[in-house]
């Protein structure tokens, strides 16, 4: 990649921070640049939507106007409860995005904590953590998430996020552990140790910054996947509690052929929105990855 080569050179010359390198990469890549503008506007519009579409009004059922095609009063028509699809779409995007981001953040946090511990200490700690991870990796997570959703008594968005994130960190922990083990042998860590710096300080302030690019890359790439998982769970009937519209809720209506064929306005906008969000996240993710690679090469 020619861009990366440039980036390496420029970065070498200016020794920029990681974030500014990411920004540079995004500026250089027209797609990524477009993506970040688009994504930001989607997020801003979605999060501000309650200002124009009060939640009460958007979620109110009007049986006499269910499944109306798009018109001047309902830009994208109405859904199975006579609710405005456009309003639902904005509200849904907000919920889906919140869930995706929260799950990704939480999962990264768990993965980071466990991975750092194993990577930093190595030896017996690493052995124990690895054995536990080995076990966790064999859990069929989709199945167990479904069981959890059935069990949990007070079902809310928060619970849903917790359940999803509990099963999303195993791979991350592995990744961070293996990189941590490599870092551990580096001179700067050994030097700090001999200086008597406390372990937690070394972990947080010396090891972590060196893993940050890896973590950020991994996070952007899994964000899209987490948004997709929620859609699938909703289709199977184990998704969000009702009254919390999400993109998945709208798409899941498409399991009825009549809706797929004749009532496209219910599900197609949501499907397209997911596609756009995922594309944006991916393009941005690629740029972030290139920045991280460039940084790697600087060493």
């Amino acid at each position: 990649m020619t861009l990366s080569k440039d980036a390496v050179q420029i970065a070498k010359a200016e020794n920029r921070s990681f974030l500014s390198m990411v920004w540079y990469e995004i500026r250089q890549d027209r797609l990524a640049y477009l993506s970040i503008i688009l994504l930001t506007s989607i997020v801003v519009i979605a999060y501000c939507s309650p200002l124009f579409f009060p939640v009460d009004r958007v979620t109110r059922i009007e049986l006499s106007r269910i499944y109306q095609p798009p018109s001047a009063s309902y830009l994208l028509g109405t859904d199975d409860g006579g609710r405005d699809v456009f309003g639902q779409l904005l509200l849904g995007a907000r919920n889906s995005f919140t869930i995706g981001v929260c799950v990704t953040l939480l999962a990264s946090l768990y993965g980071l904590a466990i991975g750092l511990l194993a990577g930093y200490y190595g030896g017996i700690v690493d052995q124990i953590i690895c054995r536990i991870l080995d076990f966790l990796m064999i859990l069929p997570s989709l199945m167990i998430i479904i069981v959890f959703v059935v069990i949990v008594p007070n079902y809310s968005v928060l619970n849903f996020i917790l359940i999803m994130s509990v099963f999303a960190w195993f791979g991350k922990a592995r990744l961070i552990r293996s990189r941590g083990l490599a870092e551990r042998e580096q001179e700067y860590i050994q030097a700090s140790k001999t200086l008597g710096t406390p372990d937690w300080k070394i972990m947080l302030f010396e090891m972590l910054p060196n893993l940050s690019s890896l973590i950020i890359v991994n996070m952007t790439l899994t964000l899209a996947g987490n948004i997709g998982l929620e859609t699938g769970l909703t289709f199977l009937g184990f998704g969000l509690p009702s009254g919390t519209p999400s993109l998945g809720t709208l798409i899941a209506l498409a399991k009825n052929p009549d809706i797929v064929q004749n009532k496209w306005w219910v599900w197609l906008p949501a499907a397209l929105l997911i596609l756009v969000i995922m594309l944006c996240i991916n393009y941005i993710g690629q740029a972030v990855k290139r920045a991280a690679d460039a940084r790697q090469r600087i060493g």
């Binding site: 080995d134 076990f135 069981v147 899209a224 199977l236 498409a254």
Partner: protein, 311 residues
């Protein structure tokens, strides 16, 4: 492997018992002419009132002897029930896997080698679209177009009932029934492989050993075949085992839409019906499949590249 499965069985047994209700409730619901005593008697007979740990003890004792208990809903031993379904799932998963790889690998190679070309852009776009399309919407569309509008393939089931078992026609018919479910699944599953392969090739292109080979004047085609390909295919081979495992649970959508009786649908139904013995057995099978898959990946890797040792 055995201790892991044991642990998994305890966990899933415990979780399953935490789900509200039991199979007896389901079976008797809406049968107002059965007395409360009779229901209670059946709960006792099946030991459903015992604490979960007692039930677990009983279950594991039998399981060691190969008896995974009785399905309450299907009224037959779990082993017998699963044996009936597992064949279909294996057909479906294997075919899906083969098609996925035979699509994804050429696409990934193509996109990786000629990065930025028109073909690459088409492939990348397809890839994003396939990643973002919900499988159930896609499967329904496939079914309409090829099953009904064009009428090329049967619309559901695993085999036509009029076929004589053991004949060539029977096998042919089975394959015909597989086409749509397999295509619907694999066309969307190529995402990760294509993406991975493409990235890997782009990265390998920059690696020193490739540059050296090129500098030595090795023809570009040979560089790709000998060096880049072999290097990039390694992780793909390693993923193979993992991919297998995801297919068991992942085929729920396909099974539902194509009325294809496999394990995925059975799992969802058993959860809904609180048919605990079946749920436990299915989770165990998935767990075992993951372990076997990991092992398989390990073995493949070692065959391909003896230097590498995983975990």
């Amino acid at each position: 492997m055995i201790p892991q499965l044991l642990l998994l069985s305890v966990l899933i047994f415990f979780l399953a018992k935490q789900m509200p209700g039991d199979a007896v409730t389901g079976a008797f619901m809406g049968k107002p002419n059965v007395s409360a005593e009779q229901m209670e008697k059946i709960r006792l007979q099946h030991g459903l009132n015992d604490p979960w740990i007692v039930q677990y003890g009983r279950w594991i004792g039998d399981a060691i002897r190969g008896d995974f208990g009785q399905s309450f809903v299907h009224k037959q031993p779990v082993t017998q029930l699963l044996a009936g379904r597992i064949e279909n799932t294996i057909w479906l998963s294997l075919a899906t896997l083969i098609v996925t790889y035979s699509l994804a690998i050429p696409l990934g190679l193509l996109a990786g080698r000629w990065t930025g070309s028109f073909a690459d852009q088409v492939i990348v776009t397809y890839n994003y679209i396939s990643f973002a399309t919900p499988v159930f919407v896609f499967a329904l569309l496939m079914l309409y177009v090829f099953g009904f509008v064009l009428d090329w393939f049967p619309s559901g089931g695993s085999v036509d009932i009029r076929m004589e078992e053991g004949t060539a026609e029977y096998v042919w018919d089975k394959l015909k029934h597989l086409v749509l479910p397999v295509l619907s699944g694999s066309l969307l599953l190529t995402y990760s492989t294509v993406q991975y392969l493409r990235n890997e090739i782009i990265e390998t292109k920059m690696k020193d050993f490739v540059k050296t080979a090129r500098a030595k004047g090795v023809p570009e085609n040979v560089v790709y075949r000998r060096h880049i390909l072999r290097h990039s295919m390694l992780p793909i081979a390693a993923f193979l085992g993992y991919e297998l495992t995801g297919l068991i649970a992942g085929s729920v959508f396909i099974e539902t839409i194509f009325s294809y009786p496999g394990l995925g649908r059975l799992f969802i139904d058993s959860i809904m019906a609180r048919d605990f013995t079946v749920v436990t057995a299915l989770v165990l099978i998935s767990g075992a499949a993951v372990i076997v898959g990991t092992l398989l990946s390990d073995i493949i890797l070692r065959i391909v590249d003896p230097r590498i040792r995983l975990g």
